[in-house]
């Protein structure tokens, strides 16, 4: 009977606080991850939105191609009408 009482005391004084402490730690860690994940989600959403302008690179590529073609034509004309240095 005495041992049983000692076991009850250990259960209430040692086991229960340890269990609560460990579970509280797990819950705190899990809850601390939530804001970080939300922040990451917001950041990736903003990054994805920023990349919406990448489609304009095709326009830039086309304009660069036209510009270089114009420069090439102009350079060809200059090559004809201007004498070489030597």
């Amino acid at each position: 009977m005495t041992l049983w009482w000692i076991g009850d005391a250990v259960l209430l004084v040692v086991v229960l606080p340890v269990v609560v402490y460990l579970l509280h730690g797990v819950l705190s860690a899990a809850r601390s991850i939530v804001p970080s994940v939300r922040s990451i989600a917001a950041t990736t959403a903003a990054g994805s939105k920023d990349l919406d302008a990448t489609a304009l690179l095709l326009t830039t590529q086309s304009q660069v191609e036209q510009t270089v073609a114009g420069v090439a034509n102009y350079g060809g004309s200059l090559d004809v009408i201007i004498d070489d240095a030597e």
Binding site: W4, L16, A30, I33, V37, S48, V68, A72, D83
Partner: protein, 209 residues
């Protein structure tokens, strides 16, 4: 009487019940937190997938743009060196963009070792700008077969002489202003009608009829 009813078995049951309650509370809370994490990570995965899809063609497009710009640079450098010569080309670029001669031309590694002539101190900047336009520039009006236009020792005078201005180069060739007066080298005959009586009009017109 109540105290006597509580035995070690009752305490054990109560302790186990408390442990189970603690387990239920914390585990349910943890499950809810993990659920929120999972939901957030799902959003992250969707956004990251969008980023990957949107950025996939960027490398190819940028490489193509860089290739075309490289071709343009090669063309312009080659044309400039061909037309102006390597030394003058370096001086011309350095005159327009001071300090650029140190970098030299990309396709002409030897250009980095050239001491850039101080073209900008002889040509005015406006002249250089116009010279880039081709033969319509005033500098292009000079005969290319003539003497060199640059005079590295002349300073601003050399730059001024680049413009086809007769006032600066050959004032004696201008027509002289006429000399008037009695001492004028050229004397003109006096007109007979000056000082003579005014000619009378015909009588018919004077009479009105």
């Amino acid at each position: 009487m109540v105290v006597l009813a509580i035995g070690p078995g009752t305490v054990t049951v109560v302790a186990l019940l408390l442990i189970v309650l603690a387990l239920v509370y914390y585990l349910v809370s943890t499950i809810m937190a993990l659920s929120a994490i999972t939901k957030g990570l799902d959003e992250v995965i969707v956004n990251v997938t969008e980023i990957i899809e949107k950025s996939a063609p960027v490398n190819d497009v940028v490489d193509a743009i860089n290739g075309q710009l490289d071709a343009g640079v090669d063309l312009l450098e080659g044309l400039l060196v061909k037309k102006a010569g390597l030394v003058d080309a370096v001086g011309l670029v350095d005159g327009l963009y001071p300090g650029a001669a140190a970098a030299g031309f990309r396709n002409f590694p030897e250009s980095t070792s050239i001491e850039a002539p101080r073209i900008s101190e002889v040509y005015t900047k406006g002249t250089l700008t116009l010279a880039r336009l081709g033969r319509e520039a005033p500098i292009a009006a000079a005969n290319p077969a003539g003497p060199v236009l640059r005079n590295v020792e002349g300073g601003s005078l050399a730059a001024r002489l680049l413009y086809p201005s007769v006032r600066h180069t050959a004032p004696p060739e201008l027509p002289r202003s006429p000399v008037i007066g009695t001492d004028a080298p050229v004397q003109y005959e006096q007109r007979d009608d000056i000082g003579a009586p005014r000619k009378r009009l015909p009588a018919s017109r004077v009479g009105g009829g």
